[in-house]
Amino acid sequence: MLSNGKPDSRLTVKKKSQASRVEILNDGGFRSDGRKQYELREIHIDFSLQGPADASVTFQHGLTQVLISVLGPREAKMRSHTIHDRANINVEVNVAAFCTGERRKRSRGDKRMLELASTIKSTFEPVIQTHLYPRSQIDIFIQVIQQDGGLLPACLNGTTLVLAAAGIALFDFVCAITGGVHSTSPLLDLNTLEENDAPHITVAVMPRSGRVTLVTMETRLHVDRFEEIFRLAVDASHILHHEMKAALQRRTRSLVSTMGSGARADHAKEFDMEE
């Protein structure tokens, strides 16, 4: 910044590297949106079915909103996509032009989106019991409607839910969350403002087995801080697991009650008023 080709920096007014005028974490311990360090944004899960999909979910985490639909397991459209002993997973991510403040169309071949899709695919390959569905294909379509930080975790969490809702056999949940650090204080679940400022990592955990299926980092994080944030993110994933499980159970109960076959159908009604 300082040496942009001008040898004599004394004469030019130095632009202080003052970041934005928003404090990431103020002295009272509040973040810019009123949360504290270890508080996650609101999570809203809606399982209403979209079009011809086998299951779909609108997963909303703070102001990040993704709509995920799953089709399959079904026969692959192309023979080359058929694998003889297990299912093929196909993930497609589409980002709405209006999802960020600045309107921007992304082409289908956008490298970032392809990378996101492939990350999601490789995260779920060991989680889905693909051997139960040989010679078939599972299509996961992700539509990003709104973005405000934590896109990858929202996609992962939403995909877990939609797969479960579609009745596809999974070994475990995948619960993902971002963790970052501002100066020396760790933060959980960063929004865009914080993601632009603080180094952060995304961690995805399989809560039952405690296995970590994904850790990514696009910024540079000091190695001494890594462990602390990593452990924190793992702890936060367990909290997420509770929330996601509860949502899934609510949906199942409501399904059972609509089918009218459950013994506890009437009882279940109380739960799903909000669905």
């Binding site: 509040f30 270890y38 609101e42 102001l63 100066s183 403002l193």
Partner: protein
């Protein structure tokens, strides 16, 4: 494991919990931004023992509020709005303003948005021990969060938020104190909204919120008379719109709107730069801009258009035909404008101002007269706008002549002039009730504004420093003038010291002891320190010994400050903010608490101390075979003064190991120096004098003498340079992005032009400035056999042409600008004085990390962070140097005064009566600069620079730098580098109370009658 929770944000309340706004980017694109907000109930009120906020920790607001205000006998807290902080920060900071303050987040954010420096002062205020202030995060509390309504300006929204906050507090207090039977209601403390906005007050009253204007509030306070003066001018305006301000004539052109300025600068039609006032001529200033090789000249008050020294201004450059040369004349504000009246200086009908306008016009005119060579012409222009003001508190005197004499004892409000200590600042108009009391005192004044219809800036009184001429006062005013932080260390800082205090010792050696981890045991080495006399903070010690292979081992041991000062502690932050220890003649303002500086870290003799050692293996020819860095434990065997070490070295009878070690070091140092000189290092000079004080307590100066340099000074210097260079290489290797280094940029050739010209014309010497080596050579050749000090004088003048060395972060500038010009070293840092310089502490931390002793704190991995620290310490370093110099100057003045009085007494004895005109010390001096109406002289013996002015016309030849002065015995020519005799008087200027050094020429010509 911390408690992790998921926050809820009910959808029905999306209006309150989501914020939507449009933002224009730098490119002009409009972006819609959506942000969310989580409202909560665990935002506490901060009142001690509040029943509703029982969870609140460290609440600071006293339970009953403040009971001393007349208007609010039941106790109250104040809740100031944003403008109060923006305009009345001095009032709030005053120690007599001790009311508990409720600070709303809305206010904090607005202050931060408007002015970062003020925001930082506000934050410092929150931490101050004597203030009771609580930040209430009203935007996050569910009851007080508000949304901007349609057609509401952001300002109105914030005002409403502030009112809402005040309302909530009052409700909250009454809820927390439910009426108890048998006790009368209405005894509760209240929160008072403090605002100067009349409309806001009206609305508040309508909503039944107690509110008051700041002036009214202060009037009801205990120390009203003192505090009222602290009110800044913006506050007083509202009450006294008496003077028909509309009828006033505008004296200055209005500034262009900001957008026009930015567009102009972008299109290269206008130029932006720092405004530098000319200290010899108050009607002239310059603005260096990159577009021209010479700075843009601003001539006359109208063209300088209310710019104050240090402001970032935008200038318009005139056509080349209107370009002028600098006036080369001394114009003194005080003499020219002596008769200007503070009360009505801006009324054009006033005869006084007519008079001074004429005086000013004359002064300006005289420079138009002479025919100027086009080579001397400089781009000339005028200020059209100001980007950033550099207004700070400055030390002033009240001009007693501006005081209406009839009311010298009254306490009515008066308008007076405050004369800043610094010659670079204009005088400031001040309204005060205490004027008669303040006349003989030094006071601190802040500039508030400078309107287009006012000739002078307006300011307000901040505080009195004490009697002028008083040593304490002068000292404090020096520290304030150069913004040296000099408060005693706070409790949080002292808590960072080892709990054992002065009893702390190096623990006995053992494998399990953490202090001894990775530390070399060098206690058996013959280590000694060599320092100036009276040095208490010894941060370096040395040793040298022969190795068995014939090579020499030499070691420099630096106090291990980083062992005690850990990163990101209050002590570390304070040290970073102070940047450096400031040495005044009779006082040292420490960077670190003195327990560390003069005891635990100081490498005192005969005690074990922790050190950071640099150990070289050197050949007989002083070539480095290898270098090691290690933390160590040493026990210095002796602490010498330079002179003592020198005597010991030269005494052939002394042959103990320490003496031999010094001799060995000395022989190496001589070789190092020779190598350095061969590489092109400069031998620079700056005027250095030493002040003898009568005794350590009285601090009365008795004499001044030139500093003497011995061989041992050079010995220590060479080894410190070597250690610094070695450390610099190492940390740059390991941390290429964030190493803390120091560099000295080569000076631009244009800086030397004038000196080269003078030397050529006056003495026939040629100065080759193509590189530091050639410059060193040509400086060596500038010898005048008749004047042995001439060479030093040229060196001093050459030094002034150079740029200042600076600290920098290695990642922020390109690799080829790392070099240190003066030392002719490709890389350099400061490593050897961590007790008194913060840069050295950082270098220590990085070096310790580079040898894997202690992991580096994350803050030192961040380039932005290191850059920020570098900015601060560069500034502090510069200020500290100037403060030190100013302090020496003050004492030289005092010493001269003493000498003059002694002389007068002696003469009085001889003649029986003292002759008034014959007072003063006569000293030899060199002429260093010629003006149209005077000469600048440099008195070697005292390291003092002065000005001799002639009242009558003299002939001035700018090309040859000569001045022809008529005298009884024909015309006498004085030129630059001439040796003259001057009489130096210290006279107390009647107007300014400034003990000022006055010089007049004695030979070759008496200037008294001229």
């Amino acid at each position: 494991m911390p408690l992790i929770t998921i926050q809820k944000r009910p959808r029905e309340e999306a209006v309150v919990t989501q914020r939507k706004f449009f933002k224009k980017t730098a490119r002009g694109k409009v972006i819609k931004v959506l942000r969310e907000r989580y409202l909560r109930d665990d935002v506490y009120c901060g009142i001690v023992e509040c029943k509703l906020c029982s969870d609140a920790v460290n609440a600071v607001l006293p339970r009953s509020g403040d009971l001393t205000h007349k208007q609010f006998p039941n106790g109250h807290y104040v809740l100031p709005d944003t403008n109060v902080f923006l305009s009345q920060m001095d009032l709030i900071e005053s120690t007599s303003f001790s009311v508990p303050i409720v600070l709303l987040q809305t206010v904090m954010d607005e202050v931060r948005h408007r002015s970062l420096p003020l925001y930082n002062r506000l934050k410092a205020l929150l931490k101050a021990d004597d203030k009771k202030a609580w930040v209430f995060y009203n935007e996050f509390r569910s009851e007080t969060a508000i949304v901007r309504e349609e057609y509401e300006t952001p300002n109105d929204r914030n005002d409403r938020g502030i009112r809402k906050g005040a309302e909530w507090y009052n409700v909250h207090i009454s809820l927390a104190h439910p009426p108890v039977r048998g006790q009368r209601a209405g005894q509760l403390a209240r929160v008072i909204l403090l605002t100067d906005d009349a409309a806001n007050r009206q609305k508040a009253e309508a909503e039944n919120i107690p509110c008051v204007s700041i002036r009214k509030y202060v009037e009801g306070m205990k120390d009203a008379s003192q505090l009222l003066d602290l009110l800044s001018a913006t506050g007083s305006e509202e009450l006294e719109p008496t003077n028909a301000s509309t009828a006033r004539k505008t004296l200055y052109a209005e500034y262009l709107p900001t957008a026009a300025l930015l567009a102009g600068v972008k299109a290269s039609k206008l130029y932006q730069g720092h405004f530098n006032a000319n200290q010899y001529n108050y009607l002239e200033g310059t603005v260096p801009v990159p577009a021209f090789s010479k700075p843009v000249l601003l001539v006359g008050r109208e063209n300088m258009n209310r710019a104050v020294h240090g402001d970032v201004v935008v200038v318009e450059v005139f056509d080349e035909s209107e370009w002028k040369a600098p006036a080369e004349e001394v114009i003194d504000q005080e003499t020219t404008l002596k008769n200007d009246d503070a009360e009505d200086s801006d009324e054009d009908a006033n005869s006084d101002s007519e008079f001074h306008l004429r005086a000013e016009a004359k002064a300006l005119c005289s420079q138009g007269k002479n025919t100027i060579l086009s080579a001397e012409k400089q781009p000339t222009g005028r200020v059209v706008g100001i980007i950033k003001r550099n207004w700070r508190a400055c030390v002033c005197h009240i001009d007693p002549t501006s005081l209406p004499s009839a009311v010298a004892t009254s306490f009515s409000i008066q308008t007076v002039f405050a004369l800043p200590l610094s010659r670079l600042l204009p005088r400031i108009r001040l309204r005060t009730r205490q004027a008669p009391n303040l006349v003989s005192q030094k006071i601190l004044v802040t500039i508030d504004r400078w309107d287009a219809h006012s000739r002078y800036p307006e300011g307000h009184f901040v505080r009195a420093l004490g009697r002028a001429e008083d040593k304490e006062t002068e000292q404090e005013s020096l520290l304030l003038e150069f913004e040296v932080p000099y408060r005693p260390f706070g409790k949080a800082i002292l808590d960072c010291l080892p709990p054992e205090g002065g009893q702390w010792v190096v623990p006995p050696k053992s494998d399990t002891e953490p202090v001894w981890r990775d530390r070399l045991d060098l206690r058996n080495l013959d280590i000694c320190s060599i320092d100036p006399p009276g040095c208490q903070d010894i941060d370096d010690a040395l040793h040298a010994r022969r190795l068995q292979n014939g090579n020499i081992e030499a070691g420099v041991h630096i106090a291990d400050v980083s062992h005690f000062v850990h990163p990101d502690t209050p002590m570390d932050n304070e040290a970073a903010a102070r940047g450096t220890t400031v040495y005044l003649v009779d006082k040292r303002v420490d960077m670190l608490p003195s327990l560390l500086g003069t005891n635990l870290c100081s490498l005192r003799p005969h005690v074990e101390r922790l050190a950071f050692s640099v150990i070289w293996e050197l050949t007989e020819d002083a070539d480095i075979v290898n270098v090691r860095f290690s933390k160590s434990v040493i026990a210095s065997k002796a602490a010498f003064e330079y002179e003592e070490a020198q005597l010991r070295k030269d005494d052939p009878n002394q042959n103990d190991s320490i003496t031999q070690s010094i001799r060995l070091l000395n022989s190496l140092a001589i070789k190092f120096k020779a190598k350095r000189m061969a590489a092109g290092a400069l031998n620079l000079a700056s005027p250095e004098v030493k002040i003898h004080l009568a005794s350590s307590e009285s601090s009365d100066p008795i004499d001044v003498e030139q500093k003497e340099l011995r061989e041992t000074n050079s010995l220590v210097e060479e080894f410190m340079l070597l250690a610094n260079v070695s450390a610099a290489k190492r940390i740059e290797e390991v941390f290429p992005q964030t190493a803390v280094l120091r560099r000295h940029l080569p000076p631009p050739k244009a800086n030397f032009e004038k000196l080269q010209d003078i030397l050529m014309k006056r003495k026939g010497f040629k100065l080759d400035v193509s590189s530091s080596g050639t410059l060193a050579d040509s400086l060596d050749k500038c010898i005048d056999p008749t004047a042995p000090t001439f060479n030093t004088l040229v060196r001093i003048m050459a030094t002034r042409c150079m740029l200042a060395a600076e600290y920098f972060c290695s990642g922020s500038v390109s690799r080829d600008t790392f070099g240190h010009y003066g030392l002719a070293s490709p890389i350099y840092t400061h490593f050897t004085s961590p007790i008194r310089r913060y840069a050295d502490v950082l270098a220590h931390r990085q070096l310790a990390a580079s040898i894997s002793h202690t992991p580096l704190h994350p803050s030192l991995h961040s380039k932005a962070n290191v850059e920020r620290i570098m900015d601060v310490i560069n500034r502090r370093h510069r200020m500290a140097q100037m403060a030190g110099r100013a302090s020496v100057e003050f004492y030289v003045g005092l010493a001269l005064k003493g000498r003059t009085e002694a002389l007068a007494k002696a003469r009085g004895k001889n003649d029986g009566k003292a002759v008034e005109a014959e007072t003063g010390v006569i000293e030899e001096a060199f002429v260093i600069r010629t003006f149209r109406n005077g000469v600048g002289v440099f008195v070697f013996q005292l390291g003092l620079e002065g000005l001799v002015t002639f009242k009558h016309d003299v002939q001035f030849d700018a090309d040859n730098y000569t001045l022809t002065v008529p005298s009884n015995s024909g015309d006498v020519t004085i030129s630059v580098f001439d040796k003259v005799k001057v009489r130096i008087d210290v006279e107390k200027d009647k107007n300014t109370q400034r003990g000022r050094v006055k010089m007049s020429l004695v030979s070759p010509v008496e200037s008294k009658d001229l």
